[in-house]
Symmetry: C2
Subunit: 169 residues, 2 copies
């Protein structure tokens, strides 16, 4: 049984001081492992896009990525970015954040999960946590009306603790 502290630590490292270089490199390794296991090809563009997303916990728009790709010797037509992002999203290595039309690296790529995002409107970082869908209020309501859930979007906007301290209110 995990302690509450563990839970917070593992789920919302984004808004806490942490060794992000390590954070990013562990996730990159995890992605490589996952692709190897599943016979997926983490091609140069795909890996590059993942690395760009892993640079920070702030999401990037498709055109931000495109711009960075073009300064790194990759082709820079929109489909290049969207295809790589599609691959990453379809395979659980990244998520799309609907509210802001942007993408983040997944912070728990192996586990099958329904992510929840907390988007700080000030520092623009995004923390990923997870829904426990079994028995949730959402799940119960859906069952009650016979709705079969295929995909869930949960995104909250607000201010992270650090930003609230910096600029109270």
């Amino acid at each position: 049984m995990k302690s509450k502290k563990d839970e917070i630590g593992s789920l919302a490292v984004t808004f806490r001081e942490h060794d992000h270089a390590k954070c990013a490199s562990l996730l990159l390794d995890a992605a490589r492992d996952l692709c190897a296991e599943r016979g997926l090809r983490l091609t140069p563009v795909r890996e590059k896009v993942l690395k760009l997303l892993l640079k920070s916990h702030a999401p990037l728009g498709a055109y931000d990525i495109l711009a960075e790709l073009s300064t790194s010797g990759f082709r820079a037509q929109p489909p290049v970015a969207y295809r790589a992002l599609d691959f990453l999203v379809e395979n659980g290595l990244a998520h799309r954040i609907e509210k802001i039309n942007a993408f983040v690296a997944c912070s728990q790529p192996h586990a099958k999960h329904s992510p929840i995002f907390m988007i700080c409107n000030d520092c623009e970082q995004v923390a990923e946590t997870s829904i426990k869908s079994q028995g949730s209020s959402l799940d119960r309501t859906a069952r009650a009306i016979g709705f079969d859930i295929r995909h869930t979007v949960v995104e909250v906007e607000g201010l992270c603790a650090a930003c609230r301290e910096r600029a109270p209110l």
Copy 2:
């Protein structure tokens, strides 16, 4: 204390047989009342857009609305639609559904609420229900990490009961 049946009836009428003409007219009246109470101006374009949204429980894109406006003698430049939609959304008469870049009339315009949408991928109708934010898992996680929630997006995609019956699996 409401019964479970009441709760379902009031919250997810979308996917059930119902007198939608009545449904729409009650909501239009509610909107007029609400604007009168708050000193808001439900101008012709704004009312027309609300009526368009109230035609069904299927959401409309801004450009769908624009097209309908132009066939009704209104000006049809994008800002016309977006401004009316902004007004309706800001004042709680409509909601934007992020996942599909579209808008629906709010089904409970008086109550302050955090809506949840259930989007049927087959019939494309959307049911609105509500989060009980107090004490929810989301709320607890946010508190635990000191995140101050300003706005919540909860949208689920899947199949409604009727569509599942029509086309099993």
